[in-house]
Every structure is written in C-alpha cells, then in structure tokens.
C-alpha cells in the first residue's frame, strides 16, 4: 500500500501573535508600575496582619529611623503654612515659611530648623540629619509640633501615621507616644507591611469563615 507523502512543513513560526502578547503585557506593566519616590529616610517597616491600606494623601506622618531620630511630614501644603505660622508665633522661632512649605519633611530642633532648611532638598539624607528632639521628657519638641498640627486640622479629618524602623529603640517610640498623648491624640495608625495571619490561629479561622476583620 502506498503511503501518501506528508508535505514538509516550514520551521518558521509566525512571531506576530507572540509579539503582540509580549507588548501588551509590557504596556500593562509599564502603566501599572509605580516607582517609589527616592526616600530620604530609609525605613524598614515591620510586618503585621493588619489588612487596611494606609492612606496615601492628606496624612501627617511621623517617621522614626533606625537610630531613633524622629522626622515629621505634613502632606497638605496649606496646612504646612498654618503649622509653621503658629510655631513662629508661639515659639518665636523665625522659621522661613516659604522654605518650610517646600520641604517634604522636617527633622531638626526649632533652633536648628533654619540651618536644616538651608540644605538643598536632594542633600537632605537621613544619617546626617539631627531629627526632632523628643526622647527627653522635659524638651519634647514633637509635642509642640503636634499641638500646632491639631490646631491646623481642627474640624477636619486627620490621618496620623507612624512609621517606625524595625531597629528603632523603644524610648523614641515612647517619646512620640507621649507627644501624641499630651495633645489628646489617642488614635493613630502604624504603617506596616502586610502579612498573612499564621495558619491555625484564631484570626486565621476568623478570616477563613468570612468574618470581617476590624483591625
């Protein structure tokens, strides 16, 4: 019986379809990617099982770096102006308002703040900066800052965030807590990395049964 000869097929594949898919995926990743803004203060946050996403605008952020130095970020520029004006009147610090408004974060004592603001933005890097003094109970300047901030935010919602480094020692955390407490701020949020509840724990069972987590 004679067998029909199979025609030899070309080994060339049409790459057009594959190319299409590749570039579709590429454009997806290019559009969704968000480059982290270069952070002046390097902070590695601890992880927690909290599932709520941290607010990304109109926040007031207190950062504690690994040496326990404290920095303050006010997101809203108009609030920045109010805060610095009230600091200037109460403390007579004579801070440059325009420079303060432009600064993305601050970290110096009242007396050293003008020197801090005279450093150009790109040279303000964590290690060399003094930080806001708050470890000392007698000279907790963060209390004064928080007071000015609460006044500026009176009547509006304020998202107070605390971002601490894994290695920051407890006394600086405590100093920040004291500054909050003195201004009757009892509610704040701590920025953490998400992590899953450990298998078998009560929270894990709760989330498995579909119960809403309230933290």
């Amino acid at each position: 019986m004679g067998r029909a000869k199979l025609p030899r097929k070309s080994t060339n594949i049409d790459m057009t379809a594959m190319c299409d898919v590749a570039f579709l995926l590429l454009s997806f990743f290019i559009l969704t990617t968000k480059f982290k803004p270069a952070e002046a203060i390097a902070v590695t946050t601890p992880s927690s099982v909290a599932s709520k996403v941290a607010p990304s605008k109109d926040f007031v952020l207190v950062t504690i770096d690994k040496d326990g130095k404290v920095f303050l970020t006010i997101d809203d520029k108009s609030k920045r102006e109010q805060v610095v004006n009230s600091i200037n009147t109460t403390k007579n610090a004579g801070i440059d308002v325009a420079k303060f408004k432009a600064a993305s974060f601050i970290g110096a004592s009242f007396s050293g703040l003008n020197a801090f603001l005279s450093i150009s933005e790109e040279n303000r890097k964590g290690n060399a900066l003094p930080g806001i003094p708050c470890k000392d109970t007698t000279n907790n300047e963060l209390t004064v800052w928080m007071q000015a901030i609460t006044e500026a935010y009176a009547g509006t919602k304020m998202d107070l965030l605390l971002k601490g480094d894994n290695l920051a020692k407890y006394p600086s955390f405590k100093g920040v807590l004291t500054a909050f407490k003195k201004n009757n701020i009892q509610k704040f949020q701590m920025v953490t990395n998400p992590e899953n509840a450990p298998a078998g724990s009560e929270l894990f069972k709760k989330s498995m049964s579909g119960e809403k987590m309230d933290n």
């Binding site: 790459m15 990617t33 709520k52 290695l167 020692k169 920025v191 953490t192 990395n193």
Partner: protein, 190 residues
C-alpha cells in the same frame, strides 16, 4: 515595490540588466519578542504590588483619675515584658516579690508567646462566670522596656490581633521590672 528605478530612461530593460529580486515583506520578529519579554521581566521585578498597610492603635487617656480606671482581675491578667535582643518575659497576675512567676518566652518557635496567650485564654474561659462573655476578664498588659526595639512592640501588638485579644494595654514599665528584665537579659546571653 518601494524601490528606486536607477536604470534611467523609460526604455525597457535590456537582456543584460538584472531584475531586482522581490524581497519578502516578512520581518523576523524573534529579536523584537526577545526584547519585549526582557522588558516585561524587568517591569515584573521592579513593580511593587503590595501597598503598605496601617495598623490602628488606641491609646489610653492618661488624665483619667486612678479610681475611674478599669481594674484588671488578677486571675485574668497577663503581663508581657520585652527586653533587649528579642528576649521576652511574662508573668500572670501580679509579680511575686521573689519573682518566681517571672518566666521567659520567645516570639516564635518553641515556648512562643502565642501559646502562652492561648493557654491564658483557655484558663480565663474555664473560670468564667458569665457564659455570654467568657473572655471578659482577660487583660494583656504590654510593658516594653527601654532596651527593646520598635519591631518587638509591633510584633506583640500584632499577636493581640492574631489571637483576638480584645483587651490589652501598652503600659509604662516599673523600675523594679525593668531591673529584672535587665538582669534576665544579661544572664540569657551566652
């Protein structure tokens, strides 16, 4: 197709003039696909999908008078103390003068604080008087010493939400307890 006729003139090509070969319009797309996938892998690795989360914490009001404060029952109280180098200590009820109930635990692994909390929870449940709220008496007191770091505090606070402890408080450590933590830290070092 898009070739320039360089032979000049309008006359027909003679027998000696070679005809331009018709080039295929197909382009080899393989290098382009290679490049595409290279860029994709780059963007996959650099993109950050996970956003930071926020953990809520409510602080107690310091200005409340001592007589108005909530009193913890001794049977339901568990105090956790954090020391240097990830050392962890706890005691149930009140600290005995000879510190015999001052025990050590770890963050995870063997003898973990989670087991201690769960054991305490089971105990509180077993002696509960109110069947509707069996965990009413359970209060965890967290006392970070000045030697511990921020991660330790967050870990313990996280442990509260993992084990669904409703009542816990972040309290300043006593001088005597701090000394005890310091001594235990020193003896735990190899």
């Amino acid at each position: 197709m898009a070739e320039l006729d360089t032979s000049g003139g309008g006359h027909k090509k003679g027998p000696g003039v070679k005809k331009g070969k018709k080039l295929s319009t197909r382009v080899d797309l393989t290098p382009m696909v290679d490049l595409g996938f290279l860029l994709i892998t780059f963007f996959i690795f650099t993109t950050t999908m996970s956003q930071p989360t926020a953990m809520k914490l409510l602080l107690p009001d310091d200005k409340v008078k001592p007589e108005e404060q909530n009193k913890a029952k001794e049977s339901g109280a568990l105090t956790i103390l954090m020391g240097a180098d990830n050392h962890l200590y706890y005691y149930e009820g009140q600290l005995k003068p000879d510190a015999s109930n001052f025990l050590s635990a770890s963050y995870n692994g063997e003898n973990s604080i989670r087991d201690v909390i769960l054991k305490k929870k089971a105990y509180v449940r077993s002696i509960a008087t109110d069947p509707n709220d069996p965990e009413h008496d359970l209060v965890v007191v967290i006392k970070p010493s000045q030697y511990c770091n921020y991660k330790n505090v967050i870990d313990i606070l996280d442990e509260m939400s993992i084990n669904v402890v409703k009542k816990f408080a972040l309290v300043d450590i006593f001088e005597t307890e701090e000394q005890l933590v310091k001594i235990s830290d020193a003896s735990a070092k190899p």
